[in-house]
């Protein structure tokens, strides 16, 4: 068979033999080892490996992208919420800036400029309907914030109307959109807006532009008017030319005029402005602090401001502290009151009960898996169907069935009373407690234990045990020293599966767990769907994830993940 064309020594080109020969030759030359085509062997190998890797990657790419997009990214996004806190600085930008250097331990209330910032921020937030959202957020940290923000939002007009009314009394023009637009707006923008209004088109309005220089004369009023005008254009789709500005703009104008000198101002509406400037000195006014305290006295409590300051940063550790039964205080993190600590207890209980459930699954599942693997195929198949049957039944149905079985007027208690084992008055309490959860969850998770055990056990040759016995081992010794060690990988796989499933369960504990048999996941579900405190839910979820990963790591160190087999 070794003619000229197939003899390895005769073939030219990049074959393994030629490569070795070339390498040997290269060795003799003391240069780098070369592949058959003359490139260094190392690079050549790396290239062919890279191509293989790329091909493998391409093959799994659809799955990888799917998992990344639909699983990892949403989870990452959710977990990120556990530290995210931009809502405070976004809703109250001026307040948080001004509050930054307030000393919460001094016992004094913040200065007037903080109240001024708060008034502006709240007014704008109220127009955007964002203040109540912030109130809900802060209410997680301090009781009463929710109604404080809602009430304040409703009553801000009480303060701004003081100025609005006085400007109006002075000159009706202050009550109209047009004079304001001329005072504040860029003439070019006014022309464009007029053209747009006349055309009555759908579509985007020409974006409002401040007139050059007006910001230097009236800084506060210009910036608030700009906010108002853009808001009117985008949210309400009204032309700022026809819209009377918010009372906030009048308020800002009052403070500008009190400070600024507009005698030399000669732009549009100069007469109107100068007349107002002459009059504002006699205006009735309240400070922002007085105004806000009038609206709600909680603005005069340092506690409110401490909370606001503490939660001003864009990222917060507050949710995580809360998740480990601690809270932020002015002197750093501190434990919560004993009667509010719950998460530590729930984490412990979740871990403990998951371990108990895993252990009872092993105890119940091992004999079944052994039986399955030793019975003849016909009966084993029948038994297998029985094991798989629960998978075809809804989880809720299986859990509710346990209610019927275990409750005090339930099947088991009835049988026991009928047999005379327990008195009618002292029926056993087997549900709405830990016992109920353990029983129901063991039943539900049992197949996840049996299946990996079975697949490992069915690969253990029966001849090994026979050999052990023929060498004089008793039944027990043969099982203990020969059979059991070989079935351990199945136990390991089943345990990991059951334990990790158990730790995240919440439907079953919710239905049969009562108060002592609920898991941490029940609280997570509560915070996601009822209290809407997604930040806290995310923090609790992150901790749970870390706990599971640590346990997995410990398991790998102790048992070794290579000793886990799901089959053959």
């Amino acid at each position: 068979m070794s003619d000229a064309s197939t003899d390895p020594d005769k073939i030219e080109g990049p074959t393994p033999d030629n490569a070795m020969r070339a390498a040997a030759a290269a060795d003799r030359d003391d240069g780098p080892m070369l592949a058959a085509d003359g490139t260094p062997l190392k690079r050549s190998l790396a290239r062919s490996l890279r191509v293989q890797k790329m091909r493998a990657l391409m093959l799994i790419a659809p799955l990888l992208i799917f998992v990344l997009v639909t699983f990892i990214a949403p989870i990452g996004d959710m977990l990120f919420r556990s530290v995210e806190n931009q809502i405070v600085s976004e809703t109250l930008p001026r307040t948080t800036r001004a509050l930054a250097d307030w000393d919460s331990t001094s016992g004094d209330l913040p200065e007037e400029r903080v109240y001024e910032g708060l008034f502006y921020d709240l007014f704008i937030a109220e127009a955007r309907k964002e203040h109540t959202r912030l109130g809900t957020r802060l209410n997680y940290e301090q009781t009463g914030m929710s109604s404080l923000f809602r009430r304040s939002g409703r009553s801000l007009d009480d303060v701004s109307d003081i100025y609005l009314d006085q400007f109006e009394d002075l000159d009706e023009a202050w009550d109209e959109g047009r004079p304001w637009a001329e005072l504040m707006g860029d003439p070019e923008w006014i022309a464009e807006q007029e053209a747009f209004d006349a055309a009555e088109d759908e579509g985007q309005m020409p974006r409002f532009q401040l007139r050059d220089g007006i910001e230097d004369v009236l800084p506060r009023a210009a910036s608030t008017y700009e906010t108002f005008a853009r808001f009117a254009q985008v949210e309400d789709e009204d032309s700022p030319l026809d819209e009377e500005p918010w009372g906030l703009v009048h308020t800002a104008l009052y403070y500008d005029l009190m400070e600024a000198d507009v005698a030399s101002y000669d732009g549009p509406q100069a007469d109107l402005l100068q007349a107002a400037d002459a009059a504002v000195g006699g205006f009735e006014s309240v400070t922002f602090k007085e105004g806000l305290l009038e609206i709600d006295e909680d603005w005069g409590s340092t506690e409110t401001w401490t909370t606001l300051q503490m939660y001003s940063p864009d990222y917060t550790s507050g949710y995580f502290l809360n998740a480990v039964d601690m809270q932020k205080t002015a002197d750093g993190p501190a434990l919560r009151d004993a009667d509010e600590r719950i998460y530590g207890l729930l984490f412990q209980r979740t871990l403990f009960m998951s371990l108990v459930i895993t252990f009872s699954c092993i105890m119940l599942g091992y004999p079944v898996a052994y039986l399955l693997s030793t019975l003849p195929a016909r009966s084993a198949n029948l038994l297998m169907i029985l094991v798989l049957l629960p998978f075809w039944t809804s989880l809720l149905v299986r859990t509710s069935a346990w209610k019927v079985m275990l409750q005090q007027q339930g099947v088991i208690n009835d049988v026991l009373v009928w047999l005379g084992l327990v008195g009618d008055g002292s029926r056993l309490v087997m549900i709405n407690n830990q016992f109920g959860t353990i029983v129901a969850m063991t039943h539900i998770l049992l197949p996840f234990m049996i299946l990996p055990m079975y697949s490992v056990m069915s690969t253990i040759p029966p001849s090994y045990v026979r050999a052990a016995k023929s060498l004089g081992a008793t039944n027990i010794t043969a099982f203990r020293r020969v059979y059991f060690p070989q079935s351990v990988p199945g136990i390991g796989a089943g345990s990991i599966l059951v334990f990790i499933l158990a730790i995240g369960y919440y439907i079953t504990p919710e239905i049969v767990g009562g108060t002592t048999g609920t898991f941490i996941s029940n609280r997570i579900a509560y915070h996601i769907s009822s209290s809407l405190n997604w930040g806290l839910a995310a923090a609790l979820g992150s901790i749970l994830l870390v706990v599971v990963l640590v346990l997995y790591w410990a398991y790998d160190r102790i048992v070794g993940i290579d000793n886990v087999k799901l089959g053959g």
């Binding site: 729930l346 108060t515 809407l532």
Partner: protein, 374 residues
């Protein structure tokens, strides 16, 4: 979006081709709508009282239900963040409506403009009156959370329980109780039975001592309580004889007593009124919004609200509907005496304090859950 536009266009064309004037007025309305409700008998009553009559006049509309009201706030928030709100009209309890309004997830409604006036011309906002607890909320029904008890388990010689404090009287009325697994209502009842005057309950509950006092009072019966989280739990527990008495929604008890004929009695004392109604999700596209508002105006008129009471024992939210409440559609019994608002039943009542619980919910719930877990 494109698909639904094509669908809309096709429908409009078909209807126009049929030569009806109708099409002109309705062309800009979407032809399908997703309503969200609670499922069960309540949703069925809405289907019969609102949806079926509406479809008789608008046969080209298809209406589908989503039974998600219990998680409506969380789901709406998620939909809003994902930028794809698939619901058109959502049935929620008033407290959730307030929260949705606070979060900017529900649309503010001008009640007089959007809703039909009463037959005598009373404006909608006056007809609903104080029940409009939020600008986003369109009330439908008044329901109450109250107690039911097993009539056959009342000890011999004892009167049937008729006082909220009988819940705490384990000597006269032994047996388990079912209470909801949340502080709302339970805390109020506990204080009431611990000697706090009705008017002062919320002032007391706002203090740490008051909260501890309420928990201590609940502690007296803690061992005898099964805590429920779904409205169907208590009726089931009562029917099984698992508990002696338990709190739940009055409509559920009506169904156990009258429809399923169980030996269960109603205790109306200190019932807590609450409201349930519609909200419209914020930022709906125009065609869908037009359809929803058309339906809404129909479904909340005086007659429709009164009709709903034929199927379930919840009181209509309009004052003008009350005199129209008639007999049960199948059982033929008068519904008025089964309404929580009936004068005989409403001798001692509470109204869910929305403002208080919006503030204290997070705080008291943390305490309550910690107390439960101990």
């Amino acid at each position: 979006m494109k698909f639904s536009k094509t669908l809309m266009a096709t429908t409009a064309l078909t209807v126009a081709a049929a030569g009806t004037v109708y099409a002109a007025a309705h062309a800009e309305m979407a032809d399908s709508m997703t309503l969200v409700s609670w499922g069960g008998a309540y949703q069925a009553s809405q289907q019969k009282a609102y949806v079926e009559p509406y479809l008789e006049n608008n046969s080209d509309v298809s209406i589908s239900w989503d039974e998600s009201s219990a998680e409506a706030v969380a789901k709406l928030r998620a939909m809003n963040e994902a930028g794809n709100v698939t619901w058109d009209l959502v049935d929620v309890v008033a407290a959730d409506a307030i929260r949705l309004c606070d979060e900017g997830l529900a649309m503010e409604i001008d009640h007089d403009e959007s809703l039909a006036a009463a037959p005598d011309g009373t404006e909608a906002s006056d007809d609903f009156g104080d029940l409009i607890v939020s600008d986003c909320f369109i009330p439908q029904i008044v329901y109450s959370t109250t107690f039911g008890y097993r009539t056959d388990m009342v000890p011999e010689g004892a009167e049937a329980p008729n006082d909220i404090c009988d819940v705490w009287d384990l000597e006269t009325y032994p047996g388990k109780r079912a209470l909801e697994k949340r502080p709302i209502n339970n805390m109020e009842w506990a204080l009431l039975c611990d000697g706090v005057a009705k008017e002062e309950v919320y002032d007391v509950l706002a203090t740490e001592e008051g909260q501890d006092q309420a928990l201590a009072k609940l502690g007296e019966i803690k061992d005898e309580v099964i805590w429920w989280s779904a409205g169907a739990d208590t009726p089931q527990l009562l029917a099984d004889g698992e508990i002696f008495m338990g709190s739940t929604y009055n409509g559920r008890l009506f169904s156990v007593i009258e429809e399923q004929d169980q030996p269960v009695g109603m205790m109306w004392d200190a019932q807590v009124f609450d409201l349930d109604g519609w909200i419209v999700p914020a930022d709906l596209p125009e065609d869908r919004l037009a359809r929803v508002m058309d339906f809404l105006s129909f479904a909340t008129d005086t007659q429709r609200l009164a009709d709903q009471a034929k199927y379930i024992s919840y009181g209509p939210a309009r004052e003008s509907s009350a005199p129209l409440v008639g007999q049960h559609a199948e059982l033929g019994i008068e519904m008025a005496p089964h309404m929580p608002t009936d004068p005989n039943n409403a001798q001692n009542t509470f109204l869910y304090n929305y403002e208080f619980w919006a503030d204290y919910r997070d705080d008291i719930d943390a305490k309550f859950q910690a107390w439960l877990a101990q």
